[in-house]
């Protein structure tokens, strides 16, 4: 299981983000990912390794194939999402709290 910083670092690479977002649509094998992305199969494997080590992606064997999926136990995505959501929402809240009240707006 990777740390939160590991997961952010892992997604700092655009190809890994593309793989991550593709897995957001459902589990895939390496070959399926390589078919829809402009990268070689070995490169996809290498990127998947980083995502797995970061705790973002889980892998399981299905017969002779290895299937990759977003780690259902991983809460890093939720944390990152809420960190961003609350930062943005509280900025809007501050603007509302700092806006002149109706009485103050009267001439």
């Amino acid at each position: 299981m990777g740390t939160y910083q590991d997961s952010l670092d892992a997604l700092g690479d655009p190809t890994r983000r593309a793989i991550f977002e593709r897995l957001g649509q459902g589990p895939s094998a390496v070959g399926e990912l390589a078919a829809v992305l402009p990268v070689s199969r070995p490169a996809v494997s290498q990127h998947l390794k980083v995502l797995v080590n970061a705790g973002l992606v889980a892998v399981e064997a299905a017969g002779t194939r290895r299937i990759y999926r977003l780690d259902p136990q991983g809460v890093d995505v939720l944390r990152a999402y809420f960190q961003r959501f609350w930062t943005s929402a509280l900025a809007d809240f501050a603007k509302a709290a700092e806006a002149p009240t109706e009485e103050e707006q009267q001439p």
């Binding site: 939160y4 910083q5 997961s7 952010l8 670092d9 892992a10 997604l11 700092g12 983000r17 991550f20 977002e21 957001g24 649509q25 459902g26 999926r69 977003l70 259902p72 136990q73 991983g74 809460v75 995505v77 939720l78 944390r79 990152a80 999402y81 809420f82 960190q83 961003r84 959501f85 609350w86 930062t87 943005s88 929402a89 509280l90 900025a91 809007d92 809240f93 501050a94 603007k95 509302a96 709290a97 700092e98 009240t101």
Partner: protein, 161 residues
């Protein structure tokens, strides 16, 4: 503004140029005005209200323009003007979460830094409790709007890390 993440918690702190009473009132009584508009749970049209009942065990819920009300969770603590706690009974696909054991918790504290300056600290804890919902969210994540911009937000954050 500062933020850090610890365990399954998210913490965001902001300094507001307003009295602690006003900051608390705007947060609790005017949530609809500043809460991002796309956030609504019900199948109805636009959100027309976001109500936080001013008491512990109260409801907090949205209203939509079709007249429907939909609960977002429960008011766990309401200690004006210093502390508000809400349960976040919303799944990762932004649907109502009927199972209380899968709700997370939002604590907001308001600390006066003088007559017209307040530090607001928000801690969203227990996100791991949404674990099962996260698995179900997998398909929904690809669809824009299910949980607005989750992957984009994550990617942006990662790019700036």
């Amino acid at each position: 503004m500062s933020e850090y993440v610890h365990g399954a918690d998210v913490r965001v702190e902001i300094s507001v140029a307003a009295s602690v009473e006003r900051a608390f009132a705007v947060f609790t009584e005017q949530a609809h005005t500043w809460w991002p508009a796309p956030y609504k749970l019900g199948p109805g049209g636009a959100r027309t209200g976001l109500v936080i009942e001013p008491k512990a065990s109260g409801r907090w819920y949205e209203r939509t323009d079709d007249g429907a009300e939909c609960a977002w969770g429960e008011v766990l603590a309401f200690d004006a003007p210093n502390h508000l706690a809400l349960s976040w009974a919303i799944t990762p696909t932004f649907q109502p979460e009927p199972d209380e054991a899968k709700a997370s918790r939002v604590d907001v504290t308001f600390a006066a830094d003088g007559p017209d300056r307040t530090t607001v600290t928000l801690v969203h804890s227990g996100l791991d409790r949404h674990g099962d919902g996260w698995e179900q969210a997998r398909d929904g994540l690809a669809a824009d709007g299910a949980w607005p911009g989750v992957l984009t937000a994550y990617a942006d954050l990662a790019s700036n890390a």
